[in-house]
Symmetry: C2
Subunit: 433 residues, 2 copies
Amino acid sequence: MPTSPVWGSRLKTRGVVLDLIRAARTISRVELAASSGLTPPTISEAVRDLMTDGLVVEAGRGASTGGKPPTLLQLNPNARYSVGVQLERNACVIVIVDLAGRQVARTSFRGTAQMPPQQALPFLATHVNGLLDAAAVDRDRVLGVGLVSYGPQDRHAGLLLTPQPTDEWFDYPVAPRLAEILGMPVVLDNDAAAAAIGEYWIGTVDPRSTYGCIYMATGIGGGVVVAGEVYRGSSSNSVEIGHISIDVHGDECPCGNRGCLENYAGPAAVVRQALDTPGLADQLVLDPAGTDFLSEFARIAAAANAGNADARHLIEQSARYLGCAAVTITSLFDLDLIVLAGPSFAVAGSIYQTLIQQEVDRRTFARRAHPVRVVPSVSGSDAAAVGGAVLVLQSELTVGHAHAEDGMLPVRITSAGSTSSTRSPRDQRSIPE
Amino acid sequence: MPTSPVWGSRLKTRGVVLDLIRAARTISRVELAASSGLTPPTISEAVRDLMTDGLVVEAGRGASTGGKPPTLLQLNPNARYSVGVQLERNACVIVIVDLAGRQVARTSFRGTAQMPPQQALPFLATHVNGLLDAAAVDRDRVLGVGLVSYGPQDRHAGLLLTPQPTDEWFDYPVAPRLAEILGMPVVLDNDAAAAAIGEYWIGTVDPRSTYGCIYMATGIGGGVVVAGEVYRGSSSNSVEIGHISIDVHGDECPCGNRGCLENYAGPAAVVRQALDTPGLADQLVLDPAGTDFLSEFARIAAAANAGNADARHLIEQSARYLGCAAVTITSLFDLDLIVLAGPSFAVAGSIYQTLIQQEVDRRTFARRAHPVRVVPSVSGSDAAAVGGAVLVLQSELTVGHAHAEDGMLPVRITSAGSTSSTRSPRDQRSIPE
């Protein structure tokens, strides 16, 4: 049986109306009815509810179309906030965004490196609390925290299904534990999926677009958004572009696959290639025993931008490999846009953008059907953290409320921890999505 | 602005109810209400409409749960029919299916080879008319024809965006022209997408599954189905798995990409490899100048099944290459099932199934999150044609009725021809989906 459609649910209606107001910035009730296909009385009721909750406010009058000028509505951006936390080995970012998706506070710091989760999560919580205090954000107005990191994940249980960077992380309940420390709801999601949806919410992406995001930090991930919603697949472990094979005869990767993109194009691979290039390591002061691939990669990228031929060759080679994978996701998902996000694109964006665009233009299967644009993320290095915060806003305000009480806006998410102890054995369960 | 949701539309309700009855085979009104989330009066009204139109009939009584045993409902399979036509160079299949998706007539014949469309379409129409006459199907009950073929396509205009097999095919309005000859609506779609949705409609796929179909005839295509609907992307040119690169350093393909899967694993590639294997060509009587790769490939597959070591090596090698691409689509779409469909899998199914399953189990990124099964299509060689017919049923009966009159079941689709003359220039337009 298909999942029950909740036709005409009052809460779903509120979500649709709220998202239309958000997307339009200012809009009248008449325009809301026209855009949504809902009747004027239904719109009026939903708007009244949203105004009572303080989520929507009136914003003057629009242009008259003959009669009385219509009252315009807009979000009340200070009504709610959410926090985005990017968990990464080499660079962490935390942001607070308001209901309109605008960043109101931000901090970044060196990543959690080889810390076990028992140490890393209190460390992250200290930063979150510090940022909330510094920004003087009322905690009662914080919907929750979007914790974003690499995959594979069990998103519903809020844990990572990988022993990266240390064995303790595998199967550790990161989201429930962070929720416990912070005393607020925490949802776990994929960093690249977060970056992708963040682009939609705060960026300039056409809402009808089917677009992809390639996210490059220490690793390479991907996300696809279809009509404003993240493509999830059967367990929210989709678009793992860093671990698709670009060479069927390539070397085995620790992930189990062979010839993985990440081992050709990712920061660690480029650093390794630089160490193998005579003279370049000395010239750029690269550490053969280093593990902070993000900084070392940034030095190579900076040298490429400054005209160093060897460095430029390596970055261009990385871009061509990424171009190959970009063509693959474009031909598979039939994308009309690719967004490049994350710190490793941020340092050499124009080289990557130019060469990936060339590959996509030349090699995508359906290039005669429509053009495919390659653009940098509007959020650059912060894209994943901003997206994590946006995912909280989106899931709380517009979709996924099937289990909430009709007509009530849930300000608190059920703690993810409760699902952890009832999981069936790993090899038998399927993760419903 | 997002597309208008048509909340509570009477027609959409009918579609939901009809699809629930189809999926359940027999179901009571009470069970329909429970499954759909719709109120009992809404269900009663929708069922009354469907019975008036002859689409649904009563089918005795179910088991009592205390009170009066409930009346069961089922589809009236003879109420409507649709036709599926698979257009292929080396093998064409035409099927007629009833409302329940059951095949009521079938014919197959050698493909359209190098015929130009001006010759191929009347040829196909003659076969369609002959099959309808032979099966004595009332044309007033035929919803339309699903014409399925390879991509890229402009699905809305009903034309192919490829000069395969001859230049005349590029941009030729195949669907409008066939509609004109047959005097009935014709929709064009991708053969692999059709095969995928056909599996859902008539097969044993879990409706919540996110699954992929790899379709191998002369070429290799793919389709993904999410919760019972084909994943479309921005222009319905998605999942072109035959033209993703499995070797970034591989040879250029006529499609513009390099290292394409089809050139390693497809029937023509296997035939070429067999011709290069000393002695094998003579042994299997392969024609070095032949173009009917399907039959030649079938001879190699038969030899592999019969224990010929050289032939088996080639089929296994093809299966490993396909396994690499299967891992790619699984890690990108996060699939829980892969269906192998089409004539070229039908001749060596167990070798392909075993080896692709091995690769997926070993190399898929999220294999710790859930298992991924690889299975043969229930429709085998006919999967695309059956799927073409099913797509007509699905689009006419359950979804995509936003423009139809509320409460009216459209028995005739708007001719696809009307959109052809109003297209904007190829390089400027985007195809809405």
